[in-house]
Symmetry: C2
Subunit: 363 residues, 2 copies
């Protein structure tokens, strides 16, 4: 077991080379050295070169605190970590990783803070503290919802931000947002099942939410059209509830769906369990698709057909949009905000064609 004393040395530092020392070495003002670090375009190439030689000769490293005082920039973007709705953010750790990777080439990093999930006021209080203290230059607002108070507060304050999630129920919002195109994903799943010969395609979603859940259900109704039976839909919040909600659909005798499009991988797990409980073989007798391409989809065997979010593209777009708001020169236009398409990943849960009886009936 370690003891507490041995490496307590509390971060000694080498004597710091000051901006004054660099200025004297280069024979320029301290402001010129500061400009060389923070606004090199303000200097002539000759002067910039002279300062840079002195910086190299003395081993000067601009300290973030000093740099921040000069530039009023922390170089940090705030992001809340913690619980999310329905796990729709899917792999929050992977998203954070990709955000960090996308910001690094631009000299920005992420500051992680927490606030209770779904408590806009608490999260706004955290923003206020971070922005007022200059701890972050901008924030990424995650997991938007109807009536979301956060984007309006940030916009009114003139703060730089981008939303992960569209402005549900607020058609007048003008801030940049990035969101997976859930409706497109559901359409891809429906079309995939129709191509496999399925003629009765049900849907398992969340209870009405005025947001992504409703959008996915509406997309199913539209894409499935006549293939969606009148009552071939169930709503649940978790796998166990989904299994209970799906059982009556499967007991619908001749009108039972032969395939189920689900709004998440977790709900799809429940659907798979209900199929097995009904004495059918998931994937062979009743096809099931999920959404998120989480561990739940890819690791169990047989695998679950699902929709994969392009998390790297989402992260890159979020970063470029928010840096553009900060006036950072990206060298090109930022990746366009808006919906990003998910990709259908076909696995055994929908790999087989629809049962012959079903195809014959519907032929």
């Amino acid at each position: 077991m370690p003891t507490a004393d041995d490496t307590r040395a509390s971060t000694p530092r080498a004597p710091r080379v000051t901006i004054r020392a660099v200025a004297e070495h280069a024979g320029v003002s301290r402001q010129t050295v500061s400009n060389a670090v923070n606004a090199p375009d303000r200097l002539s190439p000759t002067t910039l070169d002279r300062v840079r030689r002195s910086v190299a000769a003395l081993g000067y490293r601009p300290d973030r605190a000093a740099r921040a005082l000069t530039s009023r920039r922390s170089g940090l973007i705030g992001i809340r970590v913690g619980a999310t709705a329905h796990r729709t953010a899917a792999h929050p750790d992977r998203l954070l990783h990709e955000l960090v990777a996308a910001a690094r080439p631009h000299g920005y990093r992420f500051l992680a803070f927490d606030a209770p999930y779904g408590d806009d006021a608490a999260e706004i209080a955290a923003y206020a503290e971070l922005l007022a203290a200059g701890d972050v230059d901008a924030v990424v607002v995650a997991d938007t919802h109807p009536g979301d108070a956060r984007p309006g507060w940030l916009a009114a304050r003139g703060a730089a931000f981008v939303a992960h999630g569209r402005p549900w129920g607020d058609p007048d919002a003008t801030h940049p947002w990035v969101d997976v195109d859930g409706a497109l994903g559901v359409r891809l799943a429906v079309e995939h099942l129709a191509e496999r010969g399925h003629r009765r395609i049900g849907f398992v979603g969340w209870p009405a939410d005025g947001a992504g859940g409703d959008a996915r259900r509406a997309a199913w109704r539209e894409a499935a059209g006549a293939l969606a039976g009148p009552d071939a839909t169930a709503a649940a919040d978790d796998p166990a509830a989904a299994a209970r909600a799906v059982a009556p659909l499967l007991a619908g005798a001749g009108a039972a769906p032969t395939s189920l499009v689900c709004a998440s991988d977790a709900l799809a797990l429940g659907a798979l369990a209900a199929v097995a409980d009904a004495g059918a073989v998931p994937g062979r007798d009743v096809a099931v698709t999920g959404f998120d391409d989480s561990d739940l989809a890819s690791l169990p065997r047989p695998g679950l057909t699902s929709l994969r979010q392009p998390i790297r593209l989402v992260a890159q777009t979020l970063v470029e949009q928010v840096l553009d708001r900060l006036g950072v020169d990206l060298g090109r236009a930022p990746a366009p905000a808006g919906p990003v398409p998910p990709e259908l990943v076909v696995r055994a849960s929908s790999a087989a064609p629809a049962p012959a009886a079903v195809r014959a009936l519907s032929a």
Copy 2:
């Protein structure tokens, strides 16, 4: 779709109340104001009260950059985000959330950076940059491994750090570390299965790694003793490989294990698939246990018996240990470093007693 111009206002700020204004208002020196913010114990209660009244009257907010210049503290702890080995960190997003929550009461936040997994040199380069620039005061080193170059580098530099993961193969390490007690977890699983009447308990782990995988396998051998058949062990890196590796064990006729302790939930999934492929019912005919209590264990039905890491305790201990190294007054001793016990969560994959035939044989 949003346009790029409307809220580009690039973070206007209210005129900042300076430390000088507070000093003049309170009739004290600027150093005294600084002390009131950063070292209040250096001031008399009367002076401290006077400064605090001026701070409140003027609405002064100490700017992080200014504070950092004064205190040489960034108030940030660095942590790498990204891929991990075998997902043993289990729920990296939940760990980060708990770390952030544990640090907040002490005025510390986390800076997320990335580096390629398993590349010590790259991660050390990231530490060097962060520490030299004063971007972080300390780091949490995650996912330790045999021959790990990171703790030694940080210790030699005198940097404040704590490791999530023990110093594998380095008995002389003196830095604080926190790690789940994987061997204890395996013992708990073996004892649980023995109590259920199992008399042939196999093990599914990772290939030899000189670290946590080996420790879990050794713990199984020791705890299972005579209940571990001579060859009742398999090694694999993912669920599909685990299923292939387990199949021959189950074909071992009378000597086949009636239960399998697995080093992770992902490996346990493979074991469950192999049991089903062998025509047996997982949980009823052959019990299976996992490790991590991930979504893979808790969401599918029937659920997987698994071992849950006390992530909140792990995070709290990591934070308190590293803040103690930084000389932060916690008001008490930090939570003790070292191994932390996991908790057995029993679900249907091991809920049934061992098959009667097996119990009779072993009676």
